[in-house]
Each structure stands twice: as C-alpha cells, then as structure tokens.
C-alpha cells in the first residue's frame, strides 16, 4: 500500500478526493453538493448535447484578444528591453498595473462596449498584457550580445538575426510568457462572460446557478478546470522541450 502510494501519489490523491466527495454526497445529502457521479453524467450530457459549442465564440474571442496581446507585448517588451531609460521609467507603471484587481475594470468595459466582442477582447488584454510584457522584457533585456555581433559581422540581416539568434536564445522565456498570457487570457475571457452573464460559458453558468441545477454547475466548473489545466500543461511541456534544446546546443 505504502509502495503504491509512493509510486502514484497524484492519481491516488485525486481518486481519494473524488471518492470522499461521492461518499459525503451520498451519505450526508448536503443540499449544496451533488454526487460526483451525477456531475460526471451531466458532464457527458453537456458534451453530447452540443451545448459546449457555445465555447466556440469564447475561444475565438480569446484568440483575437491574445493576438493583440502578443503584438502589443512584443512592441512594449522590446521598448523596455532595448532602452534602459524606458525600462526604468516604465517600471513603476508596470508594478502598479500588476497590483490592480483587473476584474474591477470589466464593468467599465461593459458600460463602454456592452455585449459586443470588444468587451471580452478588452478584458483579455487587460488581464494578460502586463504579465506578458514583464516576462518577455526579461528575454529582451539579456539578448546574446556576442552572438548578435558575430551574426552582424558575418552579414546577417536584421530579419535573419531575429530568426536565427534572438528567437532561439530567448525561446524558453518567450514560451513562459505565452503560457502566462494564455492562462491569464482564459481567466479574462471567462470573467468577462460571467460578468456579462448572457454569452458563452457565462450564460450556461448563470442558468445553472439561477435554476439551482447543481450537477450542471459543477460540470461547467469542471469543464473550465479541464480546459485551463490542459492548455497550461501543453504549454508547460513545450517550454520544457525548448529549454532542453537550448541548453543542449
């Protein structure tokens, strides 16, 4: 038993939590906790009924927001990384922006743009941009000076220097930034939809809460948990691969 526990601690602790959840729900019948099995059944129905297709618009908005975040993030982090004056001048602004509870900005976005996509896109940008810039600036600050100089003296064009020197050298940090931005972006788009209340996953959550459909509520929460954990794990694996390759070369 101990050996089993030592070999697979993570699946076992997950199984213990699910089993404890199921037992507690079946034995004590708390009004606020549906059994895990009921949630699993509802999760399956949610997938089969196609209601999760509502997430398509969520993902599209997220992608659009992230594109803006990456473009603006690249410009800002280059600005900060290449100019020491800008770096020092902007530091307190980024510091303050990181301390802001960004969710509080969403009602303002809703006032400005209502139910349009702009509200959700602005929320994604406000959640993801500053963390991304702070991370990418690390890569921009320590560009490999000697390698760049060598590339230049061998006649590499700026585009070639970017492609063959700057991007490979900064790849691990750049991917960490992407991971942070994606996680933040998911939080942003979900927050916006929940506060708007009538689109995407926010609409489904709202319905489940108002009709007191707890199995549905928990199934939706699980959906969001799975989606965000999976995107995190994918980007984490990508980061491991690139940082291994960079250190080996």
């Amino acid at each position: 038993m101990t050996r089993l526990l030592q070999s697979y601690p993570q699946p076992l602790s997950a199984a213990a939590v699910v089993a404890g959840w199921e037992l507690a729900a079946r034995l004590l019948h708390p009004a606020w906790l549906p059994p895990a099995s009921a949630v699993a059944v509802d999760f399956w129905q949610l997938i089969r009924s196609g209601q999760l297709l509502l997430l398509g618009s969520t993902v599209r908005t997220l992608a659009l927001g992230l594109l803006i975040v990456f473009a603006a993030g690249a410009l800002l982090s280059l600005l900060v990384g290449l100019s020491r004056v800008m770096d020092e001048a902007l530091a307190p602004f980024f510091n303050a922006a990181l301390s802001i509870p960004t969710i509080a900005l969403v009602p303002v976005f809703i006032l400005l743009w209502g139910l349009s996509d702009a509200t959700r896109v602005a929320t994604v940008v406000s959640f993801a941009l500053v963390p991304l810039v702070v991370t990418w600036a690390v890569a921009a600050r320590d560009l490999p000076g000697q390698l760049l100089e060598m590339a230049r003296s061998f006649g590499a064009s700026p585009a070639q220097r970017l492609r063959f020197v700057i991007l490979p050298a900064g790849a691990p940090v750049l991917i960490v930034g992407v991971r942070i931005a994606v996680v933040q972006g998911i939080k942003g788009v979900v927050s916006a939809e929940i506060l708007i209340g009538v689109i995407g996953i926010g609409q489904l959550l709202q319905q489940a809460t108002l009709t007191f459909d707890l199995a549905r509520l928990y199934a939706l929460i699980l959906t969001l948990v799975f989606l965000s954990v999976i995107s995190y794990l994918l980007l984490d694996a990508l980061e491991r691969r690139t940082s291994r390759r960079t250190t080996r070369d």
Partner: protein
C-alpha cells in the same frame, strides 16, 4: 549618458506618460459628451463627493471586512501548510499539484458553488477571498522552505541545535523573501476575490456600488468607484513592498 541626465530622462518620461493619460482621459471625456466616458475632472469631483458623504467609506469597510478576515486566515493556514509540503516529500507529491491547479483555473467560476454552499453571507465572501489568496501563499511558503541550504541545517544539527532553533535561526530568515512574495501575490489575488464575489452574486461593498452604478448608467460614479478599488490595490501592495524592504534591511543588519 551621464547618470544625472539619465535620471532626468526617466522622470521626464514618467511625467509625460502621466500627463498624457490624464489629458487623453479629459479630452476623450469632453469630446464624447461624457455619457460613456466622463472627463477626468468630473470623475474626480464625483470621487471627492462620494468620499465626503461617506458612501465610499462604508462600502470600503464592508468590502474589506472579507479581506481583513480572509487574508490573515489564509496566511495562518497557508504558510504552515506550505512549509509542511516543502519538508515532506510524499505529501508534496500527492497534494501540491492541487495548488498549481488552483492558480491556473479561472477561480471566478467556482464562486457560484461557494455561494450555493454558504449563502449570501460574510462567511461566503471570506471563503472566496481564501480560495483566491491561499494557494499562492502556500506555494510560496513551499518554495521558500525548499530554498533552505541543507548544509547549514545539517551543521546546526551536528552542533546540537534543537529543531526549534533550526527553524528560527536558519529556515525562517532564509525563507523571508519568498514568504513576502507570497503575501504580496496573495494580497493582490485576495483583493480580486473580494471584488469578484461582490460583482457577481453578493452586491455588497464597493463591488455592489460598481454594479449599481453600471446598471443605472451613472458613468462618473462608476469610474470613481472603480478608481477607488484600483487605488486600494496599488496602495496596499506598495505598503507590503515597503515593509518587505524595511524588514530585509533590518535582517541584513543595516
């Protein structure tokens, strides 16, 4: 560039950004008629009025009651839990990934489940603050205790230091930086949690004000209330950073 000229350039850029933001806000507000974006001066006027007639004070007190209970409890529970996870390998492998998951997911989606379980109460708001703040505090405490120099603790033990002495003389001083990092992040996330629950399901405090102003299209009041909560975040975290710097200097004997 000389140091003095660089310093002047930095200050000039900062002043230019602040002035540019303020002017843009004012101009956009005036040009657009002020229905969706009231001018900065009008917003500040409303902010002053709300501060003077007590609306803001009451709302801030109500909101921060949840933070004032939730954050200390998160520290009291999260730090020992994190220290334990950092020191016990098996527990760490079995349970720490739950904390990582808690940081990655959009916690706002869990709020309805909390409200269903605990009702529209202060307890529910405290629980949400803890959901937001506790994982990052525990993870930082875990990271802190892992940074400990094993050679040092071993030496202390071979010189017959008691376990308590090992903790107070070696482990805690080394762990201070990450612990404060956790406090800072936990505070930032805790403020988010405090406002999230008020914006979604329990219309109390400053979040309740924001929701109310939004549905009445009281734009200047909405911007003023939002500005208040933004400033609260910036100021509280600046205070923690200040304390951290003081404490670090004192420990370093300066």
């Amino acid at each position: 560039m000389t140091e003095r000229r660089r310093r002047a350039a930095v200050l000039a850029v900062r002043a230019a950004i602040l002035a540019g933001l303020a002017l843009a806000w004012e101009w956009l507000g005036r040009a657009g008629g002020g229905f969706f974006l009231p001018p900065l001066t009008l917003t500040l006027g409303h902010l002053a009025a709300m501060a003077l007639n007590g609306t803001l004070g009451t709302a801030l007190l109500t909101s921060n009651a949840a933070l004032g209970i939730g954050l200390p409890v998160s520290i009291l529970v999260g730090v020992p839990a994190g220290l334990l996870l950092g020191r016990r390998r098996l527990l760490d492998r079995a349970f720490s990934y739950w904390l990582d998951v808690a940081l990655v997911i959009p916690m706002i989606a869990v709020v309805p489940a909390i409200i269903v379980a605990l009702g529209l109460t202060l307890t529910a708001r405290v629980a949400v603050v803890m959901l937001f703040a506790l994982p990052v505090i525990a993870l930082n405490a875990r990271a802190a205790v892992r940074l400990i120099d094993v050679d040092l603790t071993e030496m202390a033990r071979s010189f017959c230091a008691r376990p308590l002495q090992v903790w107070t003389k070696i482990i805690l001083p080394a762990a201070l930086g990450p612990l404060f990092g956790g406090l800072r992040l936990g505070l930032a996330r805790g403020i988010s949690g405090m406002i999230v629950v008020e914006l979604t399901l329990i219309p109390a405090g400053i979040g309740g004000l924001i929701s109310g102003y939004r549905s009445r299209f009281a734009a200047a009041d909405l911007y003023a209330a939002t500005l208040t909560i933004v400033l609260e975040g910036v100021v509280l975290i600046a205070v923690v950073q200040l304390l951290e710097g003081r404490l670090a200097r004192r420990l370093a004997g300066l």
